[in-house]
């Protein structure tokens, strides 16, 4: 018996060389007939012509044996399929309008699905670049824990193979072409080994690297290595200045490695450290733990060990030193990374799924009309012996081919969609930078295309194959009209489309209103014409307060001197994230059991003027509010209301709670501003002059992190060069990383909402395009079928207007069921959206009404053209038309249905 490979090879050869083989068979058969004839002539003594005739009769049709031959070769089904495909291509090419409409519908829906799949795959599905990533755990919800807990886990936990830790920091890295500020982290030397990360170059950290007094070492991310050294391996062993200290580069991480960095193209830099329970200042040190579960250990076992360690910590430390709500919990890194992205992606997935169904309904409807127009052809084929299965398969091949073409067009658009997504995706979307059209994405596109083709094709095809009866042939060549069953199905499909569109419109509307209500939130300060510069000033360079103050003073002076700069201020935080810094305070002359918390800003004197924050009472900070002058503060309205509701706050005194700092006298009251993003309201807060900041609190900025706020009519493009020069003329080594308008910074803060609203808006628009085609097709078809009836009605006195309204009313009835269903579904499901909404309820009546109004207009517009045609019916023509005439009319209009 021939080996399997030989047989496969033979089949391929048979398939590829079909022509040659047929020729072979041909000559073999002819030889047979020839020899038979000669034999007959010889043995029976008859003339050779007669013998040949008999031989041929005995042989039968040569063609039949060629078929038998192919069947025997076992390639029949492939050839049939190829034949079906060729036939389908021909059929599709003969109706370009239909084909184009179907492919456009499908490419929109399939493209959206493929694009979203690639996002989901990148963000949620792709394995993290670690060894056995499912065993890598970190903290759930809140990443930071006291270093002591990590040390305790390292000592005693059995659930872990290894517990490493890190904390992110920003570093000033010197080097060509300009000093840069980079996201990096201090990592325990075993962190890379724990993650199973390899170095592309050089070596991993060793414990000695973190020992006190050891030479300073650093590992670069692959991206940074490429940027700084252009991929030169001489980087290993060379020195770069990190926060102004020379560090030896010992390693370059593998290209795919990231330490939970959200975007792959972000450069990173890592410095070794040893976990110590306290900071040099004697306060609790906090770190982010990252551990690998021991073989066979479960997350639950690790968790119960954490519970023990945490409760011991809680009992040995006073309340004020730590604060976490409930219980410290472990989670796998993966689940933690995707937690925030998941709900939104789920909504988007459902939305594109709905789009796909819409497109399916659309194409199914087009196919219903198309196949019923081809019933005669189908019947002829059936009469010639094509089996029902064969007919069904042939029609399905046509729809799958359509879907695959649509999918391909969708794939072609993917590149553009990806760049749009990258531009739109909110900052911090995990791993979105890795977005690519790779093999899994391609396979997904192919599989959904084929699946879609079968889904929308199977109903029309089975209907068409069922009606393939001989009766049709007897109808004297007239194309039959669709069965009422087919009409009902196509109307149901349209109603379902309307329902899906209404749901999408409502969801898109809710998200759009969320975005709108966020942007309409007045932050309480001016955002137009304000440029911000975030800076990290290396501690190593400016170790003492006077040096730092002098640096800031000179920078402010230089910036103020830039032409067109109206005012400039310094602050510890952007105004929109003022809530990042909070402090407890006590009010002079009051004893309260627990101190209250307020957000505070450390600002220079022109802060209120630069941001246009009105002072309601008192004065702004002035040049005289220096460190040696009496302590002053400006409080905001909320704090005035909370602390001195019925008194004049000016002249009152308060101070930070946990220090013996000086008392601060209130000199002014400022209008409230939003300090924790646009979605939360103002909270009480106060400001102090930056020269009077308490220097014993390291985290009390303006320490080494500061923001410059520059008010100028010129934009970022005009100013950034001058702003850099203003800073570099004070210190050439100071990185100036992020220059942006305040408006852009705030817009980035509502990036997720904008992303969701934009995507859903795009999906809803696609849905409308699809539903318009769907409604139009069905109404046009029905109008055409009823032309005769309209003619009679007009002959009996109905006006064009009557006909128009009757068609519109029919269309409205068709859509109404869909609208009702859609609204019900949307109202039922929209509460799952609550987490994504702001300033709008999930059942917002305005949104629902808007969606209903929009779909009504869309329905009316889609019905209008066919309705107008119905109204133009000439009664005489319509009535005379019968039989053949009606048939021709039907075909004419059916062509219209196709495109």
């Amino acid at each position: 018996m021939g080996s399997v490979m030989e047989r496969i090879e033979r089949r391929f050869r048979a398939l590829l060389h079909r022509g040659a083989i047929d020729h072979d068979v041909d000559s073999e058969m002819r030889l047979h007939v020839e020899l038979e004839a000669e034999d007959l002539a010889r043995t029976h003594g008859i003339p050779i012509e007669e013998a040949r005739r008999r031989a041929l009769i005995a042989f039968g049709g040569i063609e039949r044996y060629k078929e038998a031959h192919r069947d025997a070769r076992g390639v029949r089904w492939i050839e049939d399929l190829a034949q079906d495909a060729r036939y389908a291509v021909r059929a599709l090419r003969s109706t370009p309008a239909f084909t184009a409409a179907a492919i456009v519908s499908l490419s929109l829906a399939l493209g959206a699905n493929t694009a979203l799949f690639s996002v989901v795959k990148t963000v949620l599905l792709d394995p993290l670049p670690y060894a056995e990533p499912d065993r890598v755990v970190t903290m759930a919800d809140h990443p930071w824990v006291p270093a002591e807990i990590v040390l305790e886990l390292q000592r005693s936990a059995h659930g872990f193979e290894r517990v490493a830790a890190y904390y992110p920091e920003r570093y000033a890295v010197s080097g060509a072409p300009e000093p840069r500020e980079l996201e990096g982290a201090r990592v325990t030397p075993d962190l890379f080994r724990m993650l199973g990360a390899r170095m592309a170059l050089g070596r991993d950290f060793v414990p000695a690297d973190a020992a006190p007094g050891a030479p300073r070492t650093v590992i670069l991310s692959h991206t940074l290595w490429l940027q700084l050294f252009d991929g030169d391996s001489a980087a290993i062993g060379s020195t770069i200045r990190v926060d102004d200290e020379p560090h030896e580069i010992v390693g370059v991480a593998a290209r795919e490695f990231r330490l939970l960095a959200p975007r792959s193209d972000d450069p990173g830099i890592w410095v070794p450290f040893t976990v110590k329970p306290l900071t040099p200042e004697g306060e609790l040190a906090w770190v982010i733990p990252l551990g690998r579960l021991a073989t066979g250990a479960s997350l639950q076992e690790a968790q119960s060990e954490l519970d023990v360690v945490a409760s011991r910590f809680e009992s040995t430390h006073p309340d004020g030193e730590w604060s976490w709500e409930g219980r410290l919990r472990f989670a796998t890194v993966k689940s933690e990374l995707v937690r925030s992205a998941r709900p939104a992606l789920l909504v988007l997935q459902l939305a594109v799924g709905a789009l796909l169904l819409l497109a399916c309904a659309n194409v199914a409807n087009l196919l219903l009309a198309r196949f019923s127009a081809r019933q005669r052809e189908v019947a002829v084929r059936a009469a010639l012996g094509a089996s029902r299965a064969r007919l069904l398969r042939q029609l399905l091949v046509e729809s799958v081919l359509l879907a695959v073409l649509g999918g391909l067009v969708g794939l072609l658009m993917l590149r553009f969609v990806h760049s749009a997504i990258l531009a739109l995706a909110p900052a911090g979307t995990p791993r979105i930078g890795d977005l690519a059209t790779d093999v899994p994405v391609f396979m997904f596109a192919l599989a959904t295309s084929v699946g879609t083709g079968l889904l929308f094709g199977v109903l029309p095809a089975s209907l068409a194959a069922r009606h393939a009866t001989y009766d049709l042939l007897k109808e004297g060549g007239r194309a039959p009209s669709r069965s009422s069953r087919q009409n009902r199905i196509s109307q149901l499909l349209v109603a379902a489309q309307v329902a899906l569109t209404v749901v999408l419109l409502i969801v898109a509307g809710l998200l759009a209103r969320t975005f709108a209500s966020l942007t309409s939130q007045a932050p309480g300060f001016r955002t137009a014409g304000v440029v911000t510069v975030r800076m990290h000033v290396p501690e190593s360079r400016y170790a003492n307060v006077p040096a730092l103050n002098e640096f800031y003073r000179r920078v402010l002076e230089n910036v103020r001197a830039i032409p067109g700069v109206q005012s400039v201020a310094l602050a510890n935080n952007l105004p929109i994230s003022r809530g990042n810094a909070t402090r407890e305070y006590v009010v002079a002359g009051r004893t309260s059991a627990s101190a209250d918390v307020a957000q505070y800003g450390v600002v220079s004197e022109d802060y209120f003027r630069t941001l246009g924050i009105p002072l309601l009472a008192g004065r702004a900070f002035e040049d005289r509010d220096r460190n040696d002058a009496p302590g002053v503060a400006i409080i905001d309205e909320s704090m005035q209301r909370a602390v001195w509701p019925h008194e004049d706050a000016i002249g009152k005194r308060f101070r930070f709670d946990d220090t013996d700092d000086r008392w601060l006298t209130v000199v002014g009251v400022a209008r409230d501003t939003r300090g924790s993003g646009l979605s939360s309201g103002p909270r009480r807060g106060f400001y102090i002059p930056y020269l009077q900041r308490p220097v014993n609190h390291t985290e009390l900025a303006v320490g080494h992190d500061a923001v410059l706020l520059v008010s100028s009519p010129y934009g970022v493009d005009m100013l950034s060069r001058q702003l850099r020069d203003a800073i570099w003329s004070v210190d050439r080594a100071q990185p100036v990383p992020a220059i942006a308008t305040l408006g852009d910074v705030i817009a980035a803060g509502i990036g997720p909402q904008r992303f969701h609203a934009t995507l859903l808006g795009a999906f809803a628009s696609i849905a409308i395009v699809l539903v318009v085609t769907g409604i139009y097709g069905v109404v046009a078809y029905v109008v055409n079928e009823r032309a005769h009836e309209f003619g009679i009605r007009m002959a009996m006195g109905a006006t064009a207007r009557d006909i128009l309204t009757s068609v519109l009313r029919w269309g409205a009835r068709l859509a109404a069921a869909g609208v009702v269903l859609g609204v019900l579904v949307a109202l039922g499901a929209s509460r799952y959206l609550t987490g994504l909404l702001f300033g709008v309820t999930p059942t917002d009546p305005v949104t629902v009404a808007g969606a209903v109004a929009l779909i009504s207009v869309v329905t009316a517009v889609s019905c209008l053209i066919p309705a107008a045609r119905a109204a133009r019916t000439d009664p005489a023509t319509a009535l005379r038309a019968d039989g053949a005439h009606a048939g021709r009319d039907t075909r004419q209009h059916r062509r219209h249905v196709h495109g």
Binding site: G2, R10, E28, L31, H32, E34, E36, G60, A68
Partner: protein, 109 residues
Amino acid sequence: MDDRADLLQGTLDLLILKTLILGPLHGWGISKRLRELSSDVFDVGQGSLYPALYRLEDKGWIRSEWGVSPEGRRAKFYTLTAAGKKRFAAERSQWRLFAGAVERVLEAT
């Protein structure tokens, strides 16, 4: 063909293999030899012969090659392969077992 025996299903393969045991033959030669060997009892219709040949070839029991026939014509010659010889032996013993059993049943009194 009417007064001749219809071939039992499956025996055609065996008979074709048998004709080829004696050496390569082209299609017509096979049918002629079958006719001769069976004294004109088996006149295999070409409609059965050729599909059977292709099937056997597909299974790897015979192979084919174009050559020149004794009549001086280009013809496709079929040759038994090693697998085909084994197959023939197996089918032959199968057939003898079957035929013997049928014979015994019919001879029983």
